[in-house]
């Protein structure tokens, strides 16, 4: 194990390491104080306590005082503790369909990663990019985006990162100095971000939002419906991103032909396509087809779990190898988020908050979508995108009810906007991975990232105005 000795003055070390404890005490006291108060007018006692739990989770999610999955668990145990509902009911939310859909999708993505199939796909997609520097940027973006259609964007970034490092080394691009090196890593991260909103597989935030929608009894969103609704925005953003990257960052290399040799070498190292990889590829394609055509009848989670069962039936991967790579914590976080959202809905707390504090400031359904998506895009830069979804979707659905809107519109607006974080390392893992390369400095990324965020929001609003109605999704209700 490697160690680092923190040699800062001890009071500073204590503050840095233990600041959480006084905050926890303060939070605990606030919780206790609020618990002893009478509920405000118009809000039931259960609703009031549910709101306390929600606000506590909100603080924990925003501040990261606890790891996100642990806050998710807290959201499960707090309602029974505060007498909002029985423990059996609270824990039953964990067994909801979206949680199992997320689990299935994660297992499939992990299998892709573990088998090396995703790396092979990435290498073949990158292979034709070495004709010119601009072409390589395009290929990196395209590879990242296309792979993020079928697996979690952060898994794609983690898988592509070493490949981009190899390319930058072959091209002798210096960290912190090479503009082209920086462009390649940004292209990888933003390719993942843009591709990640295209389908429900690009991250767990869309399934989470859909799960919240289902648990609130507001219907559902089909796989194909989501993909179709997002595709124009994804294409526009992809094109604009390429334009921005190639204009904003000077290309300081003449040729990238050496990258070709590096990619070829990596492809050779992959060896021939194994039977397991072929089967896995077939299985993923079949699962996607089923989600598109049979998702409504069979249920998204059923298809995902069935694919997982087949995965192990044919021994494509070993459970032991897979469980080491799986991000089980995300599933815990989502179980908790779905529980708290459902409790807000069932106790009427969400409705009360929106009626009292939000509705008076909003004048129309369009205003609702504009404000929610804008807030989401801004907050997702500083917060986990799943946390943003967990906060805004329940509130948004309550607002939508007040305006007689289709609650699914809120899910489209919030879930897509929550994935569009470009600037800060804490916003999304793919951006954080790009920063870890050492090629990026925040001041060099922040301006194009702000432009991308603005254009992304505009693209979503234009989609909502002109494209979604063609699919039967109307903002106006």
């Amino acid at each position: 194990m490697q160690y680092k000795i923190d040699t800062r003055p001890l009071p500073i070390v204590i503050l840095a390491r233990w600041w959480r404890f006084p905050v926890f005490v303060l939070l605990g006291y606030t919780l206790y104080f609020c618990f002893g108060q009478q509920p405000p007018e118009g809000l039931s006692l259960e609703g009031y306590r549910a709101l306390i739990v929600f606000l506590t989770c909100l603080v924990l999610w925003v501040t990261h005082l606890l790891p996100l999955p642990v806050t998710g668990l807290f959201a499960l145990v707090a309602p029974p503790l505060l007498g909002v509902m029985k423990a059996r009911e609270a824990f039953s939310f964990f067994g909801s369909e979206p949680v199992f859909f997320i689990m299935g999708v994660f297992i499939l993505a992990t299998a892709l990663l573990k088998s090396g199939l995703s790396t092979r796909m990435a290498l073949h997609l990158l292979k034709s990019g070495s004709k010119s520097p601009k072409r390589l940027i395009l290929q990196v973006m395209l590879t990242a985006a296309l792979l993020s259609f079928v697996m979690s964007e952060h898994a794609v970034a983690a898988m592509m990162f070493p490949l981009i490092v190899i390319i930058t080394k072959k091209l002798r691009l210096s960290p912190q100095q090479s503009s082209y090196g920086r462009t390649l890593f940004v292209a990888m991260a933003w390719g993942c971000v843009i591709g990640g909103i295209a389908t429900m597989l690009g991250g767990a935030r869309v399934p989470l939002a859909v799960g919240l929608l289902q648990e609130a009894g507001n219907g559902t969103i089909a796989f194909s419906e989501w993909t179709l609704s997002m595709m124009p925005a994804v294409i526009v953003l992809f094109g604009f991103c390429y334009f921005l990257l190639t204009r904003f960052y000077p290309i300081d290399v003449d040729t990238v032909s050496e990258a070709d040799a590096a990619i070829d070498e990596q492809i050779r190292d992959c060896g021939r396509l194994l039977m397991e990889e072929k089967f896995l590829a077939l299985l993923i394609v079949a699962a996607i087809a089923c989600w598109i055509f049979l998702g409504a009848q069979l249920g998204m989670a059923t298809i995902a779990i069935l694919a997982v069962v087949l995965l192990f039936m044919f021994r494509v991967v070993e459970w032991k190898a897979l469980q080491e790579l799986m991000e089980w914590g995300v599933i815990l976080m989502y179980g908790g988020a779905i529980a708290i959202s459902s409790i807000l809905n069932s106790t009427g707390a969400g409705l009360w908050v929106t009626q009292k504090y939000i509705i008076p400031h909003l004048s129309s359904p369009w205003m609702v979508i504009i404000v929610l998506s804008l807030l989401t895009i801004l907050l997702t830069e500083a917060m986990s995108n799943s946390a943003v979804v967990a906060i805004f979707v329940p509130i948004g659905m309550s607002i939508a009810k007040q305006f007689g809107m289709d609650p699914r519109v809120v899910v489209f607006a919030v879930a897509s906007a929550s994935g569009l974080a470009y600037a800060l390392p804490m916003s999304t893992p793919s951006v954080a991975i790009a920063y870890s390369s050492g090629y990026l400095k925040l001041k060099e990324v922040v301006v194009p990232a702000a432009i991308m965020a603005a254009v992304s929001w505009l693209a979503l609003m234009l989609s909502a105005r002109f494209w979604w109605p063609l699919l039967g999704i109307h903002v106006g209700g």
Partner: protein, 382 residues
């Protein structure tokens, strides 16, 4: 009677055995444990020649006295040798073959020749005075058992291990790691290591992170058989660098360096004290006069009267700084920095009260807890 001077004189001359003394009088290493007035402890060798020492220990009724030739008698306490020394670990190794107890700390016998021992002389510190190859081998498990046996009889705060002479880049850290790990796993004690300065500072980080509380990089590598070292200057520069870096990593006062008095001009020792204290390092002045009859005795230049100036200087420098001198508390084979107060008019300020507090069970708990807490805060997995 100046108690500190008496201690130095005892270390220099040893004692003669008088009347009515119990048997055995000495510990297995030939040392008699005495507590002088003011609670000053000393382990003094029995002068076998019986002629040069002006001190005679005798017993009158229940009281022990130290008769000083041409002067008055001083009442002292005699501490019987630990029974623990005669006990064995579960693998059959005698405790006295594993460690020596000096006041409130334990010096573990190196499984390899210590630097002083290499000269062929007795090492009063680590107990490996005889031929090291004759020492039975023992394991970290034996060491832990031996410490546990001693702790049942006597309180011990600090366990000190020495790397011996090594030429590896780590300065002996890796050699001692398994010992430190085993002690940390089973015992609640402070650990000090006596090492050679490593080539790079990351070894110093590792030393602290693996559970070491105090560190010695000795400034005097005395070996009368050595040719003058070719790379002495380079070595000295690196040693000062390592000490300065260790001072940033370890608690204040926990970076120490032995200086042997008497084998170099006293002015040089004085200059070395200043050099070390200026870098936040606590010099531990080892007053180990060669025994009568050894060929080094004639080269020895520091009589107790001469050495007192140096001890006074060390004490005064330390109390004027914020360096904590308490890592060497009850050290009975050297005169501690705080015992230098008997040679000076300068007040020990809060240091004496703190020393007395650390000797209580609460003080011990506080000291240990603070050391653990500091490590918990400072060591961060990279």
């Amino acid at each position: 009677m100046n108690i500190a001077l008496l201690k130095l004189q005892l270390l220099y001359s040893g004692i003669r055995a008088g009347q009515n003394l119990p048997n055995p009088l000495t510990n297995p290493f030939g040392l008699v444990h005495l507590v002088l007035p003011e609670g000053v402890t000393v382990s003094v060798h029995r002068n076998e020649n019986g002629t040069d020492s002006p001190f005679t220990l005798r017993k009158d009724g229940a009281q022990f006295f130290l008769d000083i030739a041409g002067s008055e008698s001083v009442p002292v306490q005699w501490t019987p040798p630990l029974h623990s020394y005669q006990q064995k670990t579960s693998s059959g190794v005698l405790v006295s073959d594993i460690l020596t107890v000096h006041g409130d700390f334990i010096a573990v016998h190196p499984t390899h020749a210590c630097r002083f021992g290499q000269s062929g002389l007795s090492c009063r510190y680590c107990g490996s005075s005889r031929d090291v190859s004759q020492h039975p081998p023992f394991t970290p498990r034996d060491l832990v058992e031996a410490i546990q046996i001693v702790e049942q009889e006597k309180r011990c705060d600090l366990v000190s291990l020495s790397s011996g002479r090594v030429d590896t880049p780590d300065g002996g850290v890796e050699r001692l790691e398994k010992w430190v790990t085993e002690i940390r796993k089973h015992l609640n004690v402070l650990i000090a290591l006596d090492l050679v300065p490593p080539e790079t500072n990351d070894w110093i980080d590792k030393t602290y992170a693996m559970g070491v509380d105090a560190l010695y990089y000795d400034s005097d590598f005395f070996n009368p058989n050595d040719e003058p070292r070719k790379d002495f200057e380079k070595h000295k520069v690196r040693q000062l660098e390592a000490l300065a870096y260790a001072r940033r990593i370890f608690p204040t006062g926990a970076v120490l360096s032995h200086l042997v008095i008497g084998l170099e001009p006293l002015e040089e020792t004085r200059a070395s004290i200043d050099l070390l204290i200026d870098r936040g390092v606590v010099p531990v002045l080892a007053y180990f006069p060669p025994y009568d009859g050894s060929n080094l005795r004639s080269r020895w230049t520091a009589t107790p009267e001469q050495a007192r100036e140096i001890y006074a200087h060390l004490y005064e420098r330390l109390v004027r700084t914020r360096i904590n001198p308490h890592w060497v508390q009850q050290y009975d084979v050297v005169l501690t920095a705080l015992e230098g107060r008997f040679f000076s008019n300068e007040s020990p300020r809060y240091h004496l009260k703190l020393k007395n507090f650390y000797e209580t069970s609460y003080g011990r708990a506080v000291r240990f807890s603070l050391a653990r807490l500091r490590r918990h805060l400072r060591v961060v997995p990279a």
